[in-house]
Symmetry: D2
Subunit: 315 residues, 4 copies
């Protein structure tokens, strides 16, 4: 059994990791660290886990583990690793953005082999995952041009700390945009696209909307493209052929087609010379903790889908 | 024009008062006090009021007013009035629970004449309003017995300060109960019912649910009753005949029948010897700021419905 | 008093017209036609109107009126007017898209004078209203270029007839796009923009999202623009100076800033050479019935805002 | 492998069964019948299942199966079994209410041994499951008295066919009651309680609310009870000791503690002589398809939790 620890196990992504790893047949969670909840049973906070685990939050790592998941806020992973340098043989999967520019970038649809060999993986951002999965086959074929993207995200993407825009009375029956053209995930998106198409120097114009729902991301991208639709579909299907969670589908997308799964569904249309590519993911799974487990599976030589064949929540 | 000031004008009830009073033909809001927002334009916070007012939040009352609305948290009204004793001729309408046991209780369907003569009115709580309007005709006729009440409230009833249970990611698609059998509004409900039926010594068993919506309250009460349904309906209709906001209706209730109005709709059924009475209100209007304006109208000798014939938000 | 009739008074837009006109000081609704509800009290269907009206649905127009509102599905207005030709002096406001290409187009911010003189006004579509209000000042100044638009609409835009995507279990906590690049409102948008900038021959690329809420529209448009932000803001403010419902604001938009009002709020930002313009409206008010009343006010020489100074529903 | 067929596989409960059985290690779904969808890929309708199954909807059962799940509307199971009498050795699990009074009633917490021996199991109703799990330990100890129950259910309980009260524009941000005191599930609840306490002749007063969410049920029951709270908790814990999905917990309940799981959480409080018992389930899982799989596990001698250790959807 792989011994796993989660640092920051009280938040959304830490909690989702617990939900996934508790049922993972090859993993034993030996330590769940939360400085704010230390001493409390995990089920006292994550009350849906009643009956599934007896572990108690710790204030710090309490023994050797094979893999360490870092689920703290952005900026804190770096500080944590400096304060508590892990053993060399401990593999690390960091869910913050601290190391996305410097370590192996954990998008299996882009870097599977590097991930398999890595000791340290920087897990991608949620919007970044969806946008990249919509654009990678274009970059792979050198077809990327200026691209226009809009997208909607669930509230869990904003984390557990209360803010004006995550207050129920504000967000219920509401929508708004934020960080238009300047979303922090655009940096990692660019970096990945350049990996394939290194002369790409166009903007990715991105309008992110706050959705009036808790889980899920839907993005819509379009750019000029000389391909016919059937060619584009073919290229995308080939690109994702070997990847067990990402599917190109004919039917229109909606977010609940992927909620509570680790899938990414992709749908293409052609309009007035524009190729439109949509992608839907669960922001907490394929956009965070599910992808982290997928990366762990790859890093430890397990079947990529192990522990990730989840019952969705279509309704 | 009646000069009005609102102390605590940045919160939900203060904001609703501004929305109502700005359109009230007999009132001019001369002062909106918010210590946290002082110096800011009212429209910078209550952004839906753009184009409707030029006033700026003050840090304290800045001149004589005819009526003072207190919209601070429970416990703060008393402290405020001690620190800033108002002029004797200033009428006061307090939306907290601080004075509900000691001053004229501002439920027009119970105390219209006392309100008309009052200098100080304690505005009822939201659940308290709904429960009383469902039970008053029974008490008036000395028919009250042990009663079982369940009810659901919108999130705005919990105020603007963020809490775990008002976080969107928690409350969306969720429900729970709170303060079962011990809701603080039961005290004022009892007090009012005893006004009519002073030998009433039975419990009011109340299960309040947190609703997954922002505005509105629906309560369902039942008790044994010897009346036939038609008698009960007749009694209720007679009781509310003179009251312009409270209606006994034949059709089943849902909360959006009253959202964004100052109405209370009441519906009766008879089952197995139990008389079931339901009441629906908007918790921020008939349950708070709308009723406060209704009280103001009565205190100043205006038409009771002035400024309160609102377009509802059925969908 | 202006005598008004509503044909199709059982639907969302017909119902909203009733809610508005019942409180309009210059109007008396003398006839509410619904073939499916004929004989039923209006309050039996629109139950929130309890206490506000005694009128009964008719199966056809039952006498002379000064103004006729047509609130039937698209295609039915034409058929209705052929079957029941109105008197010449009756003014007509049609909420369908049947006459938007041929009659006076009822967007006051574009055609106020023509509306004031018109006997027949074709009321704009909801998305069309929001997009035009975001783009008209650009076209007016001949600055329109290829433009990229995304937007989210509430479910009431899809009407009352049940469909898969308006089923609660489907739409709750969900989002999806529809009619990308091909929304039927783009025709009337183009037509209006050409009225100002007749050489405009670029596409308006539009991605409409189905929102997980009932009321409201938020759209985000962007295009290259040589103006500095302050110039653009100045131009937009000047354009809307004389229009009492449309405001250019500094703060970020969210839909509930306009819900249950007839306002349009507009917000501008500049990013990487792109001018971004956002517009928020209530799809049933400024996007339908509220604008219809605004047009009626203009057609009858009333104050433009009469009956439309509504209490919003911010929370 | 157990061969399973689902009759009525296009609806909510049929779809959930597919989601569960596809991942069940001991089961192969060999036939999914839907007369309306026959010939269509299952993934074309249940689009979240993309990549998980290749099967196609059939218009009728196409070969021998070991277990048959009937997921049609109430009344249709009886008709189906008359028209298509299954082989004697085929086990049947019926999710309708057609046989709840006559066949083995499939509530494992009540009838585990009978279920293990049964060829035909009538799966309980969703509200019925929650209410029984809240009351069974009382009946088991002969302590049941007149009981007062309120409860809220998600919209999926109302099925897939559109109705006024499942239209998004109606139900969003709304609540209402239905079938107060007369819910059809009360018959099976009474029947089960009498199995333990056959002299029980008191009413179960039940107020069901329509919740503004898709999945989940929370019920609150109370009755006079001489026990101290600690005794009651002890009794309940003992009663459920051997049952792997039902837990008595100390913390307050909310519905999302059980959504997308097969669990029932139970919470007890004592107030003014009343014992209050709350129960939370997912109406489509423990209240329908999950319990059906649990019954199948018991009928085939499998581990009771096989295929039912699901990742919940807490947020």
């Amino acid at each position: 059994m792989i011994k796993a620890a989660i640092i920051g196990a009280a938040g959304y992504t830490g909690g989702e990791l617990l939900r996934l790893l508790i049922h993972h047949p090859q993993v034993k969670v030996t330590c769940a660290v939360s400085t704010s909840q230390a001493g409390k049973a995990v089920t006292a906070l994550h009350q849906d886990l009643t009956g599934e685990t007896e572990i108690v939050f710790q204030d710090k790592l309490n023994g050797h583990v094979d893999v360490l998941f870092l689920c703290m806020g952005h900026g804190n992973s770096k500080a944590y690793l400096e304060a508590y340098p892990p053993l060399e043989k401990t593999k690390i999967i960091d869910l913050s953005q601290d190391f996305r520019a410097t370590e192996v970038y954990g998008l299996p649809e882009l870097n599977k082999q590097q991930i398999q060999a890595a000791q340290f993986v920087a897990n991608p951002g949620c919007f970044a995952t969806a946008i990249q999965l919509a654009l990678l086959p274009l970059a792979y074929n050198g077809m990327l041009k200026e691209v226009h993207v809009s997208g909607i995200t669930g509230s869990t993407g904003a984390g557990m700390s209360p803010t004006e825009t995550t207050h129920f009375s504000w967000r219920s029956n509401n929508t708004s945009t934020y960080k238009a053209f300047e979303h922090q995930h655009l940096a990692e998106v660019h970096q990945s696209l350049l990996q394939y198409q290194n002369w790409f120097d166009q903007p990715i114009n991105f309008i992110p909307y706050r959705g009036n729902f808790t889980r899920g991301i839907l993005i819509t991208a379009y750019q000029y493209c000389e391909w016919r639709l059937s060619e584009a579909v073919q290229v995308f299907k080939e690109y994702y052929e070997e990847h067990p969670f990402t599917y190109v589908v004919d039917h229109p997308l909606d977010v609940k087609q992927v909620v509570n799964t680790n899938k990414c569904l992709i749908h293409l249309e052609m309009h007035n010379g524009y190729l439109m590519v949509q992608a839907a993911i669960d922001n907490l799974l394929k956009g965070a903790s599910g992808q982290a487990v997928q990366n762990m599976n790859l890093m430890f030589g397990l079947v990529e889908t192990e522990g990730l064949l989840l019952k969705g929540s279509r309704f």
